[in-house]
């Protein structure tokens, strides 16, 4: 509005004076240059650069990599959260999420614990090739699989399978080292005792602390073993706990474990809101997943064209994200489990398979966006990055 009009308004004079004063003495924002990024970097850095300071043998198939920040600063995290390592292996740039197994009060380093996997490109590369002194990079800590005092009971029942022990290690270590007023029942399923990372540390902590209860459950126990045997069933859980009331349940392990344990917990009458499960990568064999169309085989090839220019062939059983990475195309990714939406791409034409329950925003689906880490081509695709 024109100045001469404004001047005629009731109360203009006082406001004009106020403006004059604030323009003379107001805060000069040039002091704030870079402030937002600086603060956010302390809490949620996009990347952390480390040096590997130690590599610890945990079991025949498992090693812990001790990572110290190159700039000597590690952001805080909540026990149970993960970082996604950014790596380049065989000229392929990719990422892999790993739960932090060290305690949040250990601010000098993050531990990540890696298990050898059949055909595990990255895990095997890490176990075989990385040495102390190597430099490595990750995302900031993230994830929602952690204790939340607003809704979780102080008694946590944790069900771990295989490498799914890592987030619980962080929780147990935090509770014991900080003396937190919380109780853990940790059921740890494994085939045998000889390849069970952290077994002795957990046994010790459990002996020393009344609020840590460690229950190893072995599929093939040695004769004379004191351990529970078989699977982590509802009956077994009930036997150990007595009652299941006032407890929150946390599960982390391979897909098969969720398929088995969630119904077991439901049988005990545990409400859905009391059960938390960690995302743990993509299904090993997507073609066996519920809802996969019978007529399509994992090795069926489809043409994938990107941004209307590059085009290549990829198999139905390979996720779009991996297919793109194999072509040397960089798609940012963090969780690789369908959860974080970092790797969303627009499918302009063609159909993809996404496992039911993948948390994709409704309007993303409406406008053709898919999380490429859990999307598998069922037809030739035309995609937009």
């Amino acid at each position: 509005m024109k100045h001469e009009i404004l001047e005629q308004m009731d109360g203009y004079g006082d406001i004009a004076k106020e403006i004059e004063i604030s323009r003379k003495y107001g805060q000069d924002f040039s002091m704030e240059r870079g402030e937002v990024a600086r603060y956010i970097n302390r809490l949620h850095p996009a990347t952390i650069k480390y040096k590997i300071t130690e590599i610890i043998d945990e079991s025949p198939s498992t090693k812990t990599f001790r990572l110290a920040a190159q700039n000597n600063y590690l952001p805080p995290f909540q026990a149970g959260q993960y970082v996604s390592l950014f790596l380049e292996v065989n000229n392929i740039r990719t990422s892999r999420p790993y739960s932090i197994s060290s305690s949040p009060d250990q601010t000098g380093h993050f531990d990540i614990t890696v298990r050898r996997m059949e055909n595990g490109l990255i895990s095997n590369y890490m176990l075989d090739s990385l040495v102390v002194g190597d430099e490595i990079e990750s995302s900031g800590p993230t994830g929602v699989f952690h204790y939340n005092p607003l809704i979780h009971d102080k008694t946590m029942v944790c069900l771990a399978g295989g490498c799914g022990i890592t987030p619980f290690m962080s929780m147990v270590r935090e509770i014991t080292s900080r003396g937190l007023d919380r109780t853990i029942y940790l059921f740890y399923g494994s085939q045998g005792i000889d390849d069970m990372p952290f077994h002795s540390e957990l046994t010790e902590l459990s002996n020393k602390f009344n609020n840590i209860n460690y229950i190893p459950v072995l599929e093939n126990p040695d004769s004379g073993s004191q351990c529970k045997s078989g699977f982590i069933t509802g009956d077994l859980i009930k036997d150990v706990l007595g009652g299941v009331g006032d407890k929150s349940f946390f599960i982390c392990g391979p897909q098969a474990m969720y398929n088995f344990c969630v119904p077991e917990l439901e049988k005990l009458g545990i409400a859905r809101r009391k059960i938390r499960r960690e995302m743990f990568g993509t299904p090993a064999r997507i073609v066996e997943y519920n809802g996969w169309p019978d007529e399509i085989k994992g090795e069926d090839l489809f043409q994938i064209s990107v941004n209307g220019s590059e085009s290549f062939q990829s198999a139905a059983g390979v996720s779009l994200l991996v297919a793109l990475e194999n072509q040397g195309l960089v798609v940012p990714s963090i969780c690789r489990s369908g959860e974080c939406s970092m790797c969303r791409v627009k499918i302009l034409s063609g159909k993809v398979f996404q496992p039911a329950g993948t948390p994709v925003r409704a309007s993303d689906s409406q406008f053709g966006y898919a999380h490429s880490c859990v999307s598998y081509p069922l037809e030739n695709l035309d995609i937009l990055l």
Partner: protein
């Protein structure tokens, strides 16, 4: 070097709308967005089986197909209206005091709400009628003088506008109303501006009230993310380009003219015009080298102060809203009738009953919003970011839970049993707002909207040739104003491009 007609920094409401209008006019436009999804505040996130609405509570300016509001017309102009389903909200709001002195629900209808208020405050019957009569009389003048920009504006033609446009809202309420509870009941919308009635313009209060009553508060099916995705889709379909996960580190200024940007990856992209949907502070302080920043904009920045961020709890309940007593979609809960006290409280970290709190439940008007048998609830209050910036990172999570805990305790007084049904919960603080919006102090309302900083005194003008601002830092905040800023700016930029 890649080259475009126009580069838009940030895919918030303003940036998206500007780009959509330009793309529609065949302008070669590139949108650069730091995040992996469009929308800025107009977004959602998934937890468990819920998709949470982040920021939209009551969309204004939509109206009906028969009586379209200004925003409906704008969305139509970018070709996205057919992709959106709007649901009219049946209540304006419920206000509920703690302890239980007042509990009143107003409908978005002038006659009905006057009647309802008169029923609760019979001794102020005339004052209530007089106040709303005045609001409407004032607004009809403001419509011509301000919104339609009558070129023949004069004091004689618009006497009420000239007398009241710069008055504060409290002054006008006091002319008609006396019970503090009543005054509270007619003014909780001050929290949509962030400045209490005694400090905000009566103009903004009147405009909001009339706007919501006449065009009705609206919800978008699928949430505000649907609108953001629809507009982004429109940009792409009209030949525009959007790059996600691509922040901007610099606006290139040569010989006093903005002529491109440098991305976080160091790529330089040139353009004939740059539209910044980043905060005005980051635009002129972080993105442009100091030697190119004109004194005029330094003065504007010094004139202003930074508004509040939001403290929000996003809640997924494993029951229907009615089961915990939620019967209205928009609920203001307050423990003091003195807005000044609530305002002071916004400077503190701790949350007490003096914090005015908004509880929104979307499922009441859109049962498809959350899975069957569940519901989604958001609790919000406003907090200045300064106190949060003092929290050491190592104590951040703990403080966040402490504050959320006391907020939930307050909510429980009005909705007993709500705690027992929480299946998913996520907490956002001003720091969260800062992280996702890159706004200084996590402000969600841009600058404080003191009377001296209203649009009358701080117009959205370009300070560097070829550089323009859209979004809530260049005028009023909120969905309708920010979307509108994009449309207005697209027109300005188009004129400039055509003139060259």
């Amino acid at each position: 070097m890649a080259d475009y007609d126009v580069i838009v920094i940030g895919a918030g409401n303003g940036g998206l709308m500007a780009a959509a209008r330009l793309a529609k006019k065949n302008v070669n436009v590139l949108v650069l967005e730091r995040h992996n999804i469009p929308g800025g505040c107009a977004t959602s996130f998934c937890r468990g089986r819920f998709e949470f609405e982040v920021a939209l509570h009551q969309l204004s300016g939509i109206g009906t197909e028969e009586m379209p509001g200004p925003l409906r017309r704008m969305l139509k102009s970018v070709g996205v209206i057919d992709q959106l389903d709007f649901v009219e909200m049946t209540d304006l709001y419920r206000v509920h005091s703690i302890p239980d002195q007042l509990d009143i629900t107003l409908k978005p209808d002038r006659q009905e709400l006057v009647k309802e208020l008169q029923k609760h405050f019979p001794e102020e019957k005339e004052g209530i009628a007089g106040y709303f009569d005045f609001i409407y009389r004032y607004f009809s003048e403001a419509l011509g003088a301000f919104y339609m920009q009558d070129p023949d504006i004069s004091k004689e033609k618009y006497p009420l506008y000239f007398e009241y446009a710069l008055k504060n809202a409290d002054e006008v309420m006091n002319e008609y109303l006396s019970d503090p509870l009543l005054k509270f009941a007619v003014s909780p919308y001050w929290t949509y501006i962030g400045i209490p009635p005694a400090r905000m313009t009566f103009h903004d209060m009147a405009s909001m009230f009339v706007g919501y009553c006449e065009f009705k508060p609206t919800h978008i099916k699928g949430g505000s993310q649907t609108m953001s995705n629809a507009i982004a889709n429109g940009i792409i379909e009209n030949g525009g380009r959007i790059r996600y996960n691509c922040g901007v580190q610099k606006i290139v200024v040569k010989e006093g003219r903005a002529c491109g940007v440098v991305t976080d990856d160091g790529e330089e992209i040139s353009a004939r015009a740059v539209i910044s949907n980043a905060s005005k502070v980051s635009t002129y302080v972080d993105l442009i080298d100091p030697e190119h920043v004109p004194d005029a904009v330094k003065g504007e920045l010094k004139q202003t102060t930074i508004a509040q961020g939001a403290f929000c709890i996003y809640i997924g309940l494993d029951c229907e809203p009615g089961e915990v007593g939620i019967t209205e979609s928009t609920n203001f809960i307050f423990g003091t009738t003195d807005p000044e006290k609530s305002y002071q409280q916004m400077r503190k970290l701790e949350i007490t009953e003096e914090d005015i709190m908004l509880l929104t439940c979307y499922d009441l008007m859109d049962p498809s919003f959350a899975p069957k048998g569940t519901s989604q609830v958001v609790l919000v209050t406003l907090k200045y970011g300064d106190s949060w910036l003092q929290v050491p990172p190592s104590q951040y999570a703990e403080k966040k839970y402490e504050c959320a805990e006391s907020m939930l305790k307050t909510a429980e007084k009005v909705y007993p049993g709500i705690r027992k049904h929480i299946e998913e919960v996520e907490v956002a603080t001003p720091i969260t707002c800062m992280r996702y919006l890159s706004h200084p102090k996590g402000s969600v309302y841009g600058f404080d909207h003191h009377i001296k900083d209203s649009e009358l005194f701080l117009e959205n003008r370009s300070h560097i040739k070829g550089l323009h601002g859209v979004g809530g830092w260049n005028g009023l905040c909120g969905f309708q104003p920010t979307l509108t800023s994009g449309v207005v700016m697209a027109k300005t930029v188009l004129n400039e491009l055509n003139a060259e």
